[in-house]
């Protein structure tokens, strides 16, 4: 089973994503409520993939992405964004995010995105 780390400051969102992932054969190995914790947990847990919210306190998704890429340049990070955050998503992709999911998201989209990204070597 592929191991996933979920980073989002809203408990509701984390729950929503976890519900989808649990149903579809992924293993959620950790949750982080801000960027700093996301980086720490990435180091501890070494997940196969990270879902990263863009807007978070203490350290944003973009900064966390940067740090994670420094630790592991091959890290697979998917940004979770809202409509209107195009510029930040682009920067995330420039920084090395593999793809992104737009809120509000549908189960199918989430799974498709994760699967495609995991296939990519």
């Amino acid at each position: 089973m592929k191991r996933v780390l979920i980073a989002d400051d809203a408990a509701f969102m984390r729950m929503a994503i976890k519900t989808i992932l649990d149903k579809n054969g992924f293993e959620v190995v950790g949750e982080a409520e801000n960027g700093r914790i996301a980086v720490r947990k990435f180091e501890e847990l070494k997940p196969d993939i990270v879902t990263m919210d863009i807007t978070m306190p203490e350290m944003t998704g973009l900064e966390a992405l940067k740090s994670i890429k420094k630790i592991d340049p091959g890290a697979k990070v998917i940004m979770i964004s809202a409509m209107g955050q195009e510029v930040m998503v682009m920067e995330a992709i420039t920084l090395g995010a593999k793809s992104f999911i737009v809120k509000p998201f549908k189960e199918g989209h989430v799974i498709k995105t994760l699967n495609k990204v995991l296939l990519d070597i």
């Binding site: 400051d9 807007t55 510029v87 682009m90 992104f100 809120k103």
Partner: protein, 689 residues
């Protein structure tokens, strides 16, 4: 109603988190108001909260909440990024507070399972109008930014740095990509492709060109697809695999061109106004989010402790079980089978068991205990709104907010507190002119104080307003025939406490907030429903203080079991002062036939339980029975019973409705099961007085 997520846990989490965020937001707004404007960290916090609510409510299909949150988010995004100078903070506060109220109402609908159908259109309109006027009034900074954008806009293609002028790459390809419907942000997905293509291709041209800074290009891509012309050394298969990895790819048309004429043609058209800047430059405007550091005191504290959320139903069940356990323990330890036996080891083990069950009880109680902070802080909003509406000035002082009460009780306290605070502002606090004339400080003070007193919690609502008017109260009471005692027999305090009688109000006109004479009555009922009591005291011209006395817990009390005939009763130990066997001549009777006893110079009424409850007993002489002196609300009296049976922790069970409805028995607050299986009725000392 949510059709997407029909499972309860998601809805519960949504309600819980959104309510929490709303409360946090309200506190933030109110404190920003006090310090006259919005700090950068407050703006960030408000932005983030609205962003989260927008996302969650959209997921749950609550469009109206989501749109409203979006409007506020846009407003605060502007405040955050542009940092405008000319801002009317009062208007912002009002807009946000109105939005908070709207969301609160909608959340209530969600909780009750009603349709979430509130219309936020006019409110959103107001916000948008305000935002555009804000943009206009602060126009100078905005225009500079757009100029910057225009200069950089030209960039639309990429040339690998080491192959500046002519490319010797072998293959020329054209790719047209269509994305799946509804995948959103197609322009960004297109950008992602271009970004990753850098590693494979040397020259890349694409159309539409403005994917980076024009979100409308997403529309173009949806209609016409995203076209890429590129030169690369990669073979067809590798390129094909690369494109197929695109998420949400619907259709790919990948053709290898024979020559690069077409590409050169397109290139030539655009090269006139090109520059060789890397596409990264465009993005420098974008993300300022990371730069502001966050001082989020409220959230930081909760992030440190490890906390989980537990459903209150589970806690209630746990509480019931602990109660049953106490009864079961008594049934074992006080079993009639063991009567008269010498059981040292058994007693030792029983004591150990008792120790553990006591600890368990204490722990369960403490889990259910919740500090009053939240309830108290809610009052800030009430004070602010009422001051605005009534044109008065007042501040709220909170003392002892860390005092804890049972979760069940918290729910019953909010409304009474609100009413009392409203009353204080409406009736008690004078207008600023009156206060000045009386030499009082212009800003009135309302104090909310909570403290522990024995097994009760005292909550005091005090105001430094004009106090209660004895004369008016007496007049109203006489008019409504509410006088139970002669005026001359009443102490000042008793007169003041008349205001709790139903139908009482000395206000002449009915206002939006008070005057109908139902408020205090409802407050009293609410407090009594949790087993508490309410009283008031006042200094005319200076102060009014209303005190709520609320028991820490209802369920398990220390009781003294007594016997009257064949019946058993339990007296809460907390009320017992002392017990003794009286001598015949200590008892005196007054002309009405009421019996009294003198103890250490004080006179106390005596109640014969067997008479009061109509129970047959052989012990009617005082010297054969026992007198127990009890006290409630500073009034003391003596209860006459046959004998004391022993002290025990009892679980209070309410009297069944059948009995309550059939006959209202004065003096009983509940019943319990004793160790030997018999039923004992718990005396309500307050009522017997």
């Amino acid at each position: 109603m949510s059709s997407y997520y029909s499972n309860e846990p998601m809805l519960d989490m949504f309600i819980f988190e959104t309510s929490q965020l709303i409360e946090q937001l309200e506190t933030s707004i109110l404190s920003s108001e006090k310090s006259s404007c919005y700090t950068q960290s407050a703006i960030n916090e408000i932005f983030r909260i609205m962003h989260t609510i927008k996302g969650s409510s959209a997921m749950m299909m609550f469009e109206n909440i989501s749109c409203l949150a979006h409007a506020i988010e846009d407003l605060f995004y502007f405040l955050r990024e542009e940092k405008p100078q000319k801002v009317d903070c009062a208007v912002i506060s009002d807009l946000v507070l109105e939005s908070i109220d709207f969301i609160k109402i909608e959340i209530e609908k969600v909780k009750n399972g009603d349709t979430v159908d509130g219309k936020a259109i006019s409110l959103i309109d107001n916000i948008e109008v305000f935002l555009s006027s804000l943009k206009q009034n602060n126009a100078s900074s905005a225009s500079a930014d757009t100029k910057e954008n225009n200069d950089v806009r030209k960039q639309q293609y990429y040339i690998s740095p080491d192959r500046a002028n002519s490319s010797v790459a072998k293959n020329t390809f054209k790719a047209v990509i269509f994305f799946e419907e509804g995948c959103e942000m197609e322009n960004i997905r297109a950008y992602a492709i271009i970004h990753h293509l850098k590693e494979l291709a040397d020259e890349v041209f694409y159309t539409p060109e403005d994917i980076i800074d024009n979100d409308n290009s997403a529309q173009v891509i949806r209609k016409e697809g995203f076209s890429i012309y590129l030169k690369t050394d990669c073979p067809y298969e590798k390129l094909h695999d690369f494109f197929m990895q695109t998420v949400f790819l619907k259709k790919l048309e990948l053709t290898q061109m024979d020559n690069d004429d077409e590409l050169k043609q397109i290139c030539g058209e655009k090269r006139e106004d090109s520059n060789q800047n890397s596409e990264e430059q465009v993005l420098h405007n974008g993300d300022k989010e990371g730069k502001s550091t966050f001082n989020n005191e409220i959230k930081a504290a909760s992030a440190q402790q490890s906390i989980i959320n537990v459903s209150v139903t589970k806690l209630d069940k746990l509480m019931d079980l602990v109660g049953e356990m106490v009864i079961a323990e008594a049934m074992v330890v006080q079993n009639p089978d063991l009567k008269g036996l010498q059981l040292d080891n058994f007693q030792k083990a029983a004591r150990q068991l008792n120790k553990i069950t006591s600890e368990m009880q204490d722990m369960v109680m403490s889990i259910r205990m919740v500090p009053l902070s939240a309830s108290f802080h809610k009052m800030h909003r009430i004070v602010r709104d009422m001051c605005r509406k009534l044109g008065k000035e007042a501040k709220l002082e909170i003392i002892g907010e860390e005092t804890e009460v049972d979760k069940n009780i918290i729910e019953h306290i909010s409304d009474p507190l609100m009413h009392l605070v409203r009353n204080a502002l409406d009736h008690g606090i004078e207008s600023t002119e009156d206060r000045q004339a009386a030499g009082k400080p212009q800003t009135a003070t309302i104090t909310l104080e909570a403290k522990n007193a024995g097994s009760d919690v005292l909550i005091i609502v005090k105001d430094d307003g004009k106090g209660l008017n004895k004369e008016k109260i007496l007049e109203k009471a006489r008019k409504n025939e509410l006088m139970q005692k002669a005026e001359s027999d009443m102490t000042d305090k008793e007169i003041y406490n008349l205001i709790f009688l139903p139908g009482f109000s000395t206000k002449d006109n009915v206002t939006e907030f008070s005057g109908r004479g139902v408020g205090m009555d409802v407050v009293t009922k609410n407090i009594e429903a949790v087993g508490g009591s309410i009283s008031v005291d006042s200094t005319p011209g200076n102060e009014t203080a209303i005190t709520l006395k609320i028991p820490l817990t209802l369920a398990i009390i220390d009781g003294m079991n007594i016997k009257v005939g064949n019946s058993r009763y339990t007296i809460p130990t907390i009320s017992i002062q002392e017990s003794f066997r009286p001598k015949e001549n200590d008892i005196v009777s007054d002309p009405d036939g009421n019996e009294m006893i003198m103890v250490r110079g004080q006179c106390y009424p005596v109640i014969r339980l067997h008479e009061h409850f109509g129970v047959k007993t052989e012990i009617e002489e005082f010297i054969n029975g026992i007198l127990i002196m009890v006290e409630s609300e500073e009034k003391a009296f003596c209860i006459f019973a046959d004998e004391l049976l022993g002290q025990q922790q009892v679980v209070v069970k309410t009297l069944p409705n059948y009995i309550k409805n059939y006959k209202n028995i004065n003096g009983l607050s509940g019943c319990t099961l004793l160790g030997d299986g018999s039923i004992s009725l718990i005396l309500d000392i307050g009522e017997l007085v």
